[in-house]
Structures are given as structure tokens and as C-alpha cells.
């Protein structure tokens, strides 16, 4: 059990990170902190998927660089590059929504906003 955990330390770390993010999203009342929690969750999933491509002692598969097998799988990194772009767009949209909430209601604490409703 402990041995298996040690061998998959990278995966275990992303699970822990994911839970920290989820906890932040659920417990924080401040909308910006809530959203930072979401960003932590995103990072956790990204880290997990990038870790999938790693091969111990592997080379980057670049033609003509003299690299030899075993090769690292580059595809997960390419996917996560797209994932990061998506995450940035989500963050931009969320922050602009938070600005508008602040202008209209004068607060970005979720509990005070609920009272205002």
C-alpha cells in the first residue's frame, strides 16, 4: 500500500491538490478566493495529465537530436497547453463578472450577497 503510494507520488499529489482546491471553493465566501480554489483544482488536473506522459529516464522524441528510446509521450503536454488556454479564458470571464458584481452590489462576499438578494 505505502509502496504503491510512493511509486505513484505524482498522482497522489494531484489528488491532494484537487481536494485542497475543492475545499477552498466550498468553504470560502469571498468570490475571488472561491475562484482561486477553482484554479488550484484546474492545476491539479493539469499536473495529473502531464504526469501521465512521463517515462522514467526517457528522452524527448525530437527527430535529429540524437535521442534514443524510451521516449517521453509529448501528447499530454500538448493537450494541457489547450487546457491552460481554456483555464485562462475562464479566469478572465470570472474576474470580469466579479468586477461587475462589485460595482453593482458593493461587495464580493457570497454570504452578504445572499442577504442583499
Amino acid at each position: 500500500m505505502i509502496d504503491a503510494l510512493w511509486q505513484n507520488l505524482d498522482y497522489a499529489a494531484s489528488v491532494v491538490l484537487f481536494c485542497i482546491g475543492l475545499y477552498t471553493v466550498i468553504t470560502r465566501e469571498n468570490l475571488i478566493k472561491k475562484f482561486m480554489g477553482l484554479n488550484i483544482m484546474e492545476t491539479a488536473v493539469f499536473a495529473f495529465i502531464v504526469a501521465l506522459g512521463v517515462v522514467e529516464g526517457g528522452d524527448a522524441p525530437i527527430a535529429g537530436s540524437g535521442a534514443a528510446p524510451p521516449f517521453i509521450n509529448p501528447l499530454p503536454q500538448a493537450l494541457i497547453l489547450t487546457g491552460i488556454v481554456v483555464a485562462v479564458s475562464t479566469t478572465a470571464l470570472a474576474l470580469s463578472l466579479i468586477i461587475r458584481i462589485w460595482r453593482q452590489c458593493g461587495t464580493i462576499e457570497a454570504d452578504e450577497l445572499r442577504e442583499a438578494e
Binding site: V25, F35, M41, V86, S89, L93, L97, E117
Partner: protein, 496 residues
Amino acid sequence: MSDWPPLLAVFLALPLTAAVLTPAVCRSSSTRGWAWALVTMLVTSVIGGVLIARVATRGPFSYVVGGWTAPYGIELRFDEFSAAVAIICLLGVLAIVFSRRYAERALQAERIPYYYALLLLNLTGMLGFTVTGDLFNLFVFLEILSLSGYALVAISGEKIAEMAAFKYLVMGAISSLMVLFGTGMLYALTGSLNMADITSRLAGAAQTPLIVALGAMTLGFMVKAALFPLHVWLPDAHAIAPSPVSAILSGLVVKVGIIGMLRLYQIAYGSGAVDLAGLNLVLTWLGALAIVMGAFFAVFQDDIKMMLAYSTISNIGYIVMGLGLASTYSVIGASVHVFNHALIKATLFLGAGALIHQTGKRTLTDLAGIGKAMPFTVAAISIGAISIVGIPPTAGFLCKWYIALGAMQAGHPFFGFALVFGALLIFIYYIRMVNAFYFREPRDRAAVDVQEAPATMLIPVLVLATLCLVMGVLGRLPLTFIEPAVERLLMPVGGG
């Protein structure tokens, strides 16, 4: 390879390009923005029609993006379930027609071009989601349609709109992450992102990670579909959004979650690598709960759009229960209800939008007696109401009948009972609405002393109401169309 390859690619590229260009082409002219969006969607619909005709005559076909062959590159695949593009195009066109006058009053003038741009992006995202054959591409389209959806909820600028959009965004982003996580797991298990390829490689995969992957993705799609108890973001978002957007969100965007589940089922059943009985049981129970709870909340609403939003939760329950029962009849019923509920809910939301546009009021109390002033709109809403309850000659009846038959077929008559009980509750609140519009004395005579809605609003509503009736009569058509796909889906190993 097919003889007319680029058509499927153009189908997605056209609205996507047009969406991005909208603010530049239209500057601040709302009429030009409207015409631009409408022409784009009409051309896209024609292409969609050709594609559906092809799948009906020759069966599923695909397009290889950028010449990278299937398991390595992105594959666009058009099968019977992709025929959902028909309803996406139809509602897209009608919602844009409806927006002509509605947007002018409901939105600030400088936002209108962006409104059409976001609407086109949202529709493109859904079209792409329906036809892609690649899991990661599925995630990308999911994000395109979700992000534009969040922005569309907030676009009205009303006080609680931003808060509703933020709530929607947080729930939506978490669910997208679950889908991405599941995609990563499936990639780790099979080394492939192509759905057909995953299906063939999945046999003999380790059970635990496979269940975690499927579970995470199902959970993600459940949030997108607003399945009870993960529906909390839906009522505010759908009620606050401008009415044409509500019609799109409630009629189509929640269905994306359902189509996602169907795609997962294609993988899971096709590979035969995992036993889905447990998941199906959970889905069936949640579906039954959603039917009853959604209807229960709706009974107590006075705001007409809020009521329609809760009704969506209830109807998603029908669809998910149909999928969970996993018998031929129930899955056929559920698939067709995806289509019919979209028609019905769009009728109701656009009709409600016309009432709100003309009177400025949105509660049943204030709208009492409106039937005399706006006879056509209210007649259309009544047809929609009859249809959603599932009274025989209308579109809603056949699907619910098939799902009930499916419950018998699967040996769970109890769920057939839940369905009927839900239908009774739904009947109560829709009869309350129709009663208020026709028979109650108006509270404030001046408020309901208004003209019938303008033509650009009335025509889409009437077209949809007519379709609700026509689809009830021609109901066998979509049923027989989807049948081979469902039979292939439920067939054990090697069926994909």
C-alpha cells in the same frame, strides 16, 4: 473516405468564423448583427440538412481533420445521434429571429453585436460537441459552449444576472474539469483519444481506474445536464438570461450533458469492458427523484420563467431515467425526448419572452387575463403546456409513453409509476398557468392592455407550437430513425 469530404468541416468552420467576425462586421448596428447571424445559421442549417440526409441513406460517416488519419488526428464523426444538430440549427435560427426586437429592448445597444457573436459561438460549440469523434476535442467544444453560455447569462446586466452567471461558471468549470480528468484517465488506460479507438482498446483494462474515469465523466455531464441534486445553478441562470438565451440554454445546452452521457455509453457498452448495472441504477433513481422534485419546486413558483426552469429539471429527469433503465424502448424514448423537449421548452420560453416583452411583467399574478390581449402567443404557450404534460396528440406524449414502456420492459414498473406521478404534478402547475392567462380577472387592467407581439417574435413561437403538434402526429419518424443506433448501442461486445 467520402465523396464530399469538406462539408462536415465547413459545417463547424462557418458559424465559428462568422461568430468571431460578428463584432467587426456589425460595429454597432443591431439590424446588421441580426441579419449576419441569421444568414449564417440558415446556411449552416442547410448544410446540416444535407448531412442528416446522408446519414439516413448511407449510415454514419466521418471526416479526418488536417489529413491525420483516425487514431492519431481528430476525427469528426456523424452518426444517428449527431442528427441532434437538426434541433440545434432549428432552435438557433428561431431564437435569432426572435432576438430581433427582444434584444433591442432587453440589452444595451453596444452589447447587441457581442450578443449575436456569443449566440453563434454557443451554437457552434453544441454542433461541434455533437459531431466530434475525439474525446479531447469534445472537451474543447464543451468549453466553447459553456464559456459563451456563462457570458450570455450575464449579458442582460440585471442586478442578479452576474451572480447567477458566476454560480453557473463555478459549477460549470468544476464539471468540465471532471470531464477532462476522465479523458486523461481513459488516455492513460488506452493510449488513445479517438472514441472508436478507445472502444476497441478498452477490453481487459483494469477495472478500478476505468470505473473512476467513467464515474468522473458521468458526474461532469450530470452537472452540465442539471440532474437533481446537481441542478442548483440552473433556475437562476435560466430565469435571468434574456428569453431567447433561456430557450437555447434550457432546450439545448443542458442536453449537451445527455449527449455526452450517450457518447460515454457508446464507449462503455461497445467495449464491454465494464458492468454498468450500478451506474444505471443510480441514474434511474436520480432521474425519478429529479422528475418529482423539479415538478414539486415548480408548483410553488410565481415567476413564469422560474417555473419553466424548474420544469426543465423535471424533464431532464425523464431523459436520464430513460437512459438509466437501459432497455431499448426507454433509451429510444429518452433520445427522442432530447429532441421534443427542446421544441416544447423553446415554445414556452419564447412565448414567455413575448409576454414579458409586451407587458414588462413576469409573474403569473401580474399576467392574469393576458389571454384576451395576446391570443396567439397564449394559444402557443397553451399548446406547449399540453405538450409538456404529455397529453396524447402532442410531441411530449410519445417519448414519455416509450420511457414508461421501457420501464416495463426493464422489469421496473415502479419507475413507470414515478413517471406518471411526475406528469400529474407537471399537469398541476401548467394548468395553473393556463388558467391564470385565460380565466383569472386581471389585477391591473392597464398592465395587460397591450398589443399582440410583433411578427418577428410571434412567428418563431407559432412555428414551434405547430411543430409540437406535428411531431406528435409524425412521432414515429424520429423513433424509427434513432432505433438502429440505439440497438447498436445496447448490443453487447463488438457492437460499436
